[in-house]
Symmetry: C2
Subunit: 277 residues, 2 copies
């Protein structure tokens, strides 16, 4: 399908793209935007399909864009050419790469995360900074987690800055968006042990047994975890810090805990350190 090129920044479709920066608009339309070559590649690799791909060939930075555009077209996307000025208006970036898609929000129910084979899950409650949520998704992808649960989001994973900071791993990691009570019920009923990270805990994270079905839960940058998680968790764990507690970034704390679990699980037949204590 070929539409007429868009040349005016006042075009209604450009205005609709700008509105997608707003969470209410994303929630109301159940759509979101995916911008950039790397992000779109991960989107397609995840088997997802977009409605529309807006392209501005004069902004292409490499030589692989046309193959990507062909792939999008073959998957059923409408391809709409946009000239430089309106594209820059729609873009979420300082240096747009000429590729911006609109897609339906995919399934983020708890069923999206398989909890069957000894799952390791990261739960992030009310994270504020898109960069932190994106970094956590990258970490979840690198660590091969069963999935990531975003509980009571302050910033939603469909935020364009999350998509970007995640480098598109938001499409590769099984992802659920839900509220804390529902997440706790779901994890419990699947027999997943809930480990809540908090500076107030006394049990070091590396002395907790993270080898079984485990959910590692991290709280918001400013407030940490809510009482619901801290009270309902099977254990509260702490990352002991010789220096200042407030120096460790929320995403870094999540990564340190996640990779300790990966470490423990890489040698499942060995006792964890807790048995030495």
């Amino acid at each position: 399908m070929v539409s007429d090129p868009i040349t005016s920044p006042a075009n209604t479709r450009i205005k609709a793209l700008v509105r997608l920066r707003d969470r209410r608009e994303r929630d109301a339309t159940r759509t979101f935007a995916v911008e950039g070559y790397r992000e779109l590649l991960r989107f397609l690799d995840a088997g997802l399909s977009m409605r529309t791909l807006f392209v501005c060939p004069e902004l292409f930075v490499g030589s692989n864009e046309s193959a990507l555009v062909d792939r999008c077209r073959q998957s059923g996307a409408e391809i709409v050419e946009v000239s430089d000025i309106p594209f820059r208006k729609a873009s979420y970036r300082d240096r747009p790469e000429g590729l911006l898609a609109v897609a339906a929000q995919f399934d983020t129910s708890l069923d999206a995360i398989p909890l069957t084979e000894n799952p390791l899950v990261l739960v992030a409650e009310s994270i504020e900074k898109p960069g932190n949520l994106g970094t956590m998704l990258r970490t979840a992808e690198a660590a091969g987690l069963a999935g990531m649960i975003v509980a009571d989001p302050t910033t939603d994973p469909f935020n364009p800055n999350v998509v970007r900071a995640s480098l598109g791993t938001v499409f590769a990691v099984p992802l659920s968006i839900t509220d804390t009570a529902t997440a706790i019920d779901h994890l419990r009923s699947a027999g997943v042990v809930i480990m809540a990270t908090t500076p107030e805990a006394v049990l070091p994270y590396y002395e907790a047994d993270l080898r079984g079905p485990t959910a590692l839960v991290v709280g918001s940058e400013q407030y940490g975890l809510s009482p619901a998680w801290l009270d309902e968790a099977d254990a509260n764990i702490v990352i002991p810090m010789p220096g200042s507690v407030d120096s460790l970034n929320a995403a870094m704390a999540a990564g340190v805990a996640v990779f300790e679990a990966v470490r423990q699980r890489s040698r499942p037949s060995e006792p964890t350190s807790i048995h030495f204590a």
Copy 2:
């Protein structure tokens, strides 16, 4: 000392502040800028002193600024009042807080890092992104490292975006800026074991013994570590990743390795896992 308030963005001192965004200017003048309440507090707490503090009271966001200004004045700083428009021109931030200091670059020789008491050191080679360098400094501070060596910097730690991303921990962590050959010689002669992290290694980082004097070395976002580090290191170590290697952010990789060393060193009398293998 009280100067006349600066009201014009064309003022030579405002222009000089703007030029400090440029590394050549910082290197030539051996000065740098420190902006923001939290950053200045850590600067003062580190016992450092500034030459000049530029203040714009109408931009103050809290009520503690005047106490901070008094502290700066008592430490010998010249206090210069600046009105809104020129301050915004000099500021490195979208939302300036009305506090911007100029200070001499402090000692970043290798002697700045004490290598006596079983040191744990992070070495970062040619990191490009200020955010990553800042996050590594925060992690070094949280982990209570003996110090951080910035080898062959692409982005220098006096970059205002590093100061900011570090939340001022750049002043709290013993810091050295040097070249790779000098760093390797220095670490070797102090008996520090050099552990180079690379996706090409076969030894998992958690099977390496990190309990003795150790330097953990991480490379640039794009190119990883140079052959000099990989060849001269006592061991090359890898963070095994069930998912994609390129998903793990450079600062996250550094943090995961650093906190594994902290974990091992928290129980020095226990054997590390390498003895079980």
